[in-house]
Symmetry: C2
Subunit: 144 residues, 2 copies
DNA sequence: ATTACATGTAATCGATATTGTTACAGGTAA
DNA sequence: TTACCTGTAACAATATCGATTACATGTAAT
């Protein structure tokens, strides 16, 4: 099991829009860098647009960031591309037997524990911005 | 996307072994409480056994805990049932374009961020023991 | 030794999610 | 009108999950 690479690709898209901000960042351009199909990129662009992270218009080539780099966290991207639903990082088996003391309580007992674990993971994502990602790549480029 | 319910079922199994420690906890008994097939339970029992969490023997009915309740964390169960591999909670797209500054760096930049998020989630699991789960259920039973 | 019953394990199936691909509708500007 | 872009639907290939069936193997009681 793994969380969909839509998340990583979403970050890639936003980062590249920033790096190419003087130029035109079309779905084809993005697809070439990500190494996938333009239609895949357009679908993701739709999600990022819906989440208010980018501006993109039918018939007009290129996407632009809709917010400041420092105002976009990885959590924003994570939510935008819809990879994990609220309280659903972990799945819990359905319909355990109600006549068993464990069966009738296990879901209620486990759920808050799973939610806490998921929340801790998401908190890390909230504390990283796209600015951090862009700066890290810029640093790596200057060194190499 | 969701982490397999094997994790939740694994917790269920261990918890029920404890609740039924005076009796014989067979795969059929467990399957009835979990509401699944005995073969599914046996496969999970094999994983829990391999991880040293339970003792179970071919031909002999019933499983027993191999460690103290307070010595088994949810993380132990999580690793035992093999739901998420190390550094693979998030997947990263392969083969981004090396001629692009973003494409050639994005993986190295994102990987530690994803690893940190995964680690934070796992840390929560490390801090909860089966004893906590059993006590919580026992409390709920006494109240209701 | 035979019988009854347990665990161990492999094969298979249906359901679902993911990723890539193709195709085309609709918008924009030269 | 033409060229090119985004938006979106349909479909295939692949992978994983959970359930199911079947059977080999091990144990203990008769």
């Amino acid at each position: 099991m793994s969380i969909s690479s839509r998340f990583a690709v979403g970050i890639h898209i936003l980062t590249l829009i920033e790096f190419n901000k003087e130029g035109v960042t079309s779905s084809e351009f993005l697809a070439s860098s990500v190494n996938t199909n333009p239609a895949v990129i357009r679908k993701l662009m739709g999600m990022l647009k819906k989440a208010g992270l980018i501006e993109v218009h039918p018939g007009i080539a290129g996407a632009k960031l809709a917010k400041e780099l420092s105002d976009i966290t990885l959590f924003d991207v994570y939510k935008a591309v819809n990879v994990v639903q609220e309280k659903e990082l972990f799945s819990i088996h359905e319909s355990p037997h109600p006549d068993c003391p464990v069966g009738r309580n296990i879901q209620n007992t486990i759920e808050p524990l799973f939610a806490a674990a998921q929340f801790a993971m998401e908190k890390v994502l909230r504390n990283v911005t796209l600015e951090d990602v862009v700066k890290d790549i810029a640093t790596k480029e200057n060194i190499c």
